[in-house]
């Protein structure tokens, strides 16, 4: 255990009371004078071209204020998502919006709108588009290639034989557009004692934000005020400004609380900007609250995979080679990129001696995709875990042991360029989990009891968990208050607050004296990273450390100037700057703040470092002269990938007669460096566990391929796990070994917390079924029943977006 004041200690984040009492305001709770309510009309077709809009009946209705169509908005270049479109590429894509005096009037008006749409060919399964003669999801093509050499649409087709062979489980021979490799793959397989080859499918599914995205906007003197639902805060501004065609300084985003984003509200999105354009047209504040159903259309979804993997293992279990091919179900807007991330994850978690990744991101006329917790990493975790177990069985190695043999450690080199990582203690995590779970006893317990059979599984999760280059900002005011400015955004993980504790740690101040400034970009927030990618804890522990260190240095300088002596003679404690060895010579923080204002210059924000972002510069300008300003850009050393790692152990009891299983025990271990906020970490590990359980057995997109129609447009059809689908207790732990490149040793954990869970579940299911690998998520009860009864599965091989 460390002896930090705040790092590693629980605390009550300031927004908790509002959430518990209901006083917390979400985007839809805000009102403005003269505000009107908007609703959107969306495409009933998976792909089409609007030929005529008849809105006359709606326009004449009482209470209708105005109508906005794509023609009122600046054109957006494909594949970027427009706010409104005349060429919808998925069911539910917004075509027009109506504003009225209340929501019911807006809904009544929407029901009177008639839009004529000419249908165009569509595809909801990538392989249906990839096959020669198959439909392209967009008129521009069926693949969007992103590369440094130039990005653009292409039409990629495989022969029918190539598709059939892929479906039959053979190595795909069709064209890929993304490829990387390292090591000698051929030799890797030649050296292997066991080679396992599996085709696989992971279905995409909704992000399922509890708060359907709402946005309210109005304009004042050329500045647009947006009240939105967002994961991030400062990070939203550049994108939002771009969508609104204004400078960044002319956008204010208020987002105090967010009812879930899960990757779907990372950056500015079209439905956030739409009310602002509508408001501009109408000259009144406009609120757009989309329906729950529409959240499933526009609210983003996980990328689906149809893939093939071949893994070679040496006799000792070491992975000698991995060959991975992924056809990505990318939705219509080419958002995602999970495939290559899955490859990266394999290179880290299983550390193959040689590896090749090939991918084809195929566009489909399904809900637009976006990063969802562990995008790519978690899909491949679910597929890899049973493969590791199969190899262990064939090599007669313990399943824990084969993971330890390949476990990432400080010297592991990763990804295509085989670069370094900042630190990794996967083996320690596995050992800790095995001990908590009592692995050997559970593994060796009697397995079969009537129709019930026990299965145990181990899962490993990974996501890169931190970056650098963002800014920190702290301010000490003459009243003695310490203002910690957090531009991170409040996704609900409390990391916006817990990362400010690293500033408090440096300032050695009383937490009760700290005020977290947040919730509105008008609250003088620094340029911060997105609140996503398991990134905040590492990145903003550093940024806040930098700002607080700047503040401490400035206070020491002021003390030295005021009380005499050298800067190095001073230190801080108990909200005082004191002379080392002479504790009676000190200034309180309040006094230093007052003095900073008098001195001006950098001390009170009259000047600022050149390298900080323009958003931070404006924040500093706005608070200049109000106290002592600590500000800086994180330029601390960062060499290598920052890994967030987690492992999970699961024990299930599977009923062979119903295909259902109970999760008897679950242990999740975080390997995220020093623990910053134990309760927050436990919540992340538990939430991730539940999410992984949902992915393993319940959640999936279902599309009617004949009509391009999604079945999942409500909570029920989407199958999120309920309280009774999860174990009564989810046990968690953390390795808690510091990362050397983080001032307090902390790395992020959000995404691996889920990846390890889904992997442990798929492994446990395979274990219960004598090693049968479905190579698919979700593994639903019907699939298990079919398997146990020797029936073929109802879907065709590699089919996706199906029951």
């Amino acid at each position: 255990m460390n002896d930090y004041r705040y790092i590693g200690k629980d605390f009550v984040p300031p927004d908790i009371v509002g959430k518990v009492t209901g006083k917390a305001k979400y985007a839809e709770d805000f009102r403005a004078d003269g505000m009107v309510f908007a609703r959107v009309y969306t495409s009933p077709m998976a792909h089409g071209r609007v030929t005529r809009i008849d809105s006359s009946a709606a326009a004449e209705m009482d209470g209708v204020i105005g109508i906005l169509t794509a023609d009122d908005l600046p054109p957006v270049e494909a594949p970027n998502a427009p706010m409104l479109t005349n060429t919808p590429v998925y069911v539910g894509e917004p075509i027009l919006a109506v504003a009225a005096i209340d929501e019911k009037a807006a809904e009544d008006a929407i029901a009177r709108i008639r839009v004529h749409i000419e249908p165009l060919p569509f595809a909801v399964d990538p392989l249906d588009s990839l096959v020669e003669g198959g439909p392209d999801a967009r008129e521009e093509g069926n693949v969007y290639v992103r590369s440094r050499e130039g990005s653009g649409f292409r039409s990629v087709k495989w022969t029918r034989e190539q598709i059939d062979e892929f479906r039959a489980g053979k190595e795909p021979t069709g064209e890929s557009v993304d490829e990387w490799s390292y090591g000698d793959l051929e030799r890797g397989f030649a050296d292997a004692t066991v080679i396992i080859e599996e085709p696989f499918v992971t279905n995409g599914y909704a992000h399922m934000s509890m708060e359907p995205r709402t946005s309210m906007a109005y304009w004042e003197n050329g500045t647009c005020f947006v009240y939105g639902s967002a994961q991030s805060q400062s990070f939203m501004i550049p994108g939002l400004a771009s969508m609104l065609n204004v400078e960044q300084k002319n956008v204010i985003l208020v987002s105090e609380h967010t009812g879930g984003g899960f990757g779907s509200k990372i950056a500015a999105y079209p439905m956030m900007a739409l009310p602002a354009w509508f408001s501009k047209k109408l000259g009144r504040p406009v609120q757009l609250r989309i329906t729950r159903e529409q959240e499933y259309y526009v609210g983003s979804a996980r990328v689906g995979f149809q893939g093939w993997i071949k893994v070679g293992f040496a006799a000792d279990g070491r992975v000698t080679a991995t060959d991975l091919f992924i056809v990505e179900d990318l939705g219509p807007n080419a958002t995602g990129g999970d495939g290559s991330s899955a490859g990266d994850a394999v290179s880290i978690v299983y550390d193959p001696e040689s590896m090749r990744y090939r991918g084809v991101p195929v566009l489909t006329n399904t809900t637009p995709r976006g990063a969802q917790r562990g995008p790519g990493q978690n899909q491949i975790a679910a597929i890899m875990a049973p493969i590791m177990d199969k190899a262990a069985r064939e090599l007669n190695i313990d399943r824990l042991e084969i993971r330890k043999v390949n476990a990432a450690h400080n010297a592991t080199t990763v990804e295509a360029d085989q670069g370094p990582i900042t630190s990794a203690y996967m083996k320690e995590a596995l050992d800790m989990g095995a001990k908590m779970f009592n692995w050997e006893a559970k593994r060796d317990q009697p397995r079969r009891n009537g129709n019930k059979v026990i299965g145990v599984g181990i899962g490993q999760g990974y996501h890169s968990a931190g970056s650098d280059g963002f800014d920190g900002l702290v301010r000490i005011t003459p009243d003695g208050k310490i203002h910690l400015h957090s531009g991170v955004g409040n996704l609900g993980t409390y990391s916006y607050a817990s990362t400010t504790r690293s500033a408090a740690e440096v300032l050695k101040c009383d937490w009760n004296n700290c005020v977290i400034e947040r919730g509105s970009t008008a609250a003088h927030l620094p340029w911060s990273s997105y609140q996503a990618g398991s990134n905040t804890t590492f990145t903003h522990s550093r940024a806040n450390f930098v700002a607080a260190t700047d503040a401490v240095n400035k206070m020491k300088e002021i003390a030295a100037t005021t009380l005499g002596g050298a800067v190095t003679d001073y230190d801080v404690a108990d909200e005082r700057v004191f002379r080392i060895g002479s504790p009676t010579q000190y200034m309180t923080y309040a006094a230093v703040a007052q003095r900073a204002i008098e001195l001006g210059g950098a001390y009170s924000g009259q000047t600022w470092p050149d390298d900080i972002h323009e958003i931070t510069q404006r924040a500093v300008q706005n608070i200049a002269g109000t106290g002592l300003i600590g500000v800086g850009k994180d330029t601390l050393r960062l060499e290598g990938v920052v890994p967030g790692l987690a492992v999970a152990f699961a024990e299930i009891q599977l009923d062979l007669e119903t295909g259902k299983y109970d999760i008897l025990d679950y242990v999740g271990i975080a390997e995220c460096g020093t623990v910053v906020h134990p309760q927050g970490l436990a919540a992340q590990m538990k939430g991730g566990a539940v999410w992984g359980m949902g992915m393993a057995s319940l959640e999936r997109h279902v599309y009617d391929p004949q009509n391009g129609l999604p079945a999942n447009i409500g909570y029920h059809q989407c199958g999120i796990p309920t309280y009774l689908d999860t174990p009564s207790e989810i046990r968690t732990g953390a390795v808690d070994l510091p990362d050397p490149q983080s001032p307090f040793g902390a790395r992020g954990i959000g995404e691996p917390a889920m990846g390890c869970s889904v992997a442990a579940m798929t492994a446990a299911i395979a274990d219960a079924l004598d090693g049968h690998i479905f190579s698919r998520t979700p593994i639903s009860a019907d699939m298990i029943v079919n398997h146990v009864n020797g029936r073929p599965q109802s879907f065709k091989p590699l089919q996706i977006n199906n029951f």
Partner: protein, 252 residues
Amino acid sequence: MDVATYKEDIWGREVILGASWDLLWLVVVSAFVVIALHAVILAVRRRAARPSSAGPRVPRHSAVDRIFHWIMAVTVIVLLITGVFPIIGLEFSWLTIHWIAGLVLTASVVFHIVRSLFWQDLKAMWISARDLKEPFDATLKPGKYSVAQKSMHAAVTVLVLLVIGSGLVMFAMIDTPWWERSNSIAESTLGWVFLIHGLSTLALIALIALHIYFGLRPEKLFYTRSMIKGWISKEELEANHDPERWAPGKSS
């Protein structure tokens, strides 16, 4: 009153759903009015002496034709009951009976067509220019069939072929012991199929009402008897037909 009803297809576009069943009441009422008017007019007119059924008999309908007629009659009635009653609120398990009756009707119609094409005098049912003068000239007597009978036959032929044709297409929508439904007809096409099936059914209801009415009229009852027993009397023949044009016994 609309002829067709409409619905939104899976993509929200307006397509035909089928015939408007409000027309049923129009058809029923119209048929009733026509029949009532006809009955009243004939009741007011002086009645001609009715020829006797006694005496020598001549054959009118062969056993095969009679069997065909009554199979058709029964199946059509069954089809109408099973098809229409559920629509007007008398719910029962109708579909299986309906499609089996439909198949029986189809088979018997096919049999009849083949038989009439190759083994019967097709011209006996042909409506000639002379036939059209028949109603206006009391001196003109028909051959085997009056122009009214021929017209009825022609109309029933067209409607039954339409109803059978559209009905057979609908087999794509249901399961039978020999056929798994494909359910793959485009929604807009399907609407036309239902519309044709419905409208031809409605027209058949009117025609059949008239047919039954005429079949039961006292002066025409001998035709009905002939459809049961096969013969008419010589007297009935002479009173109603031109022996030059129809000489039963010499030909069928």
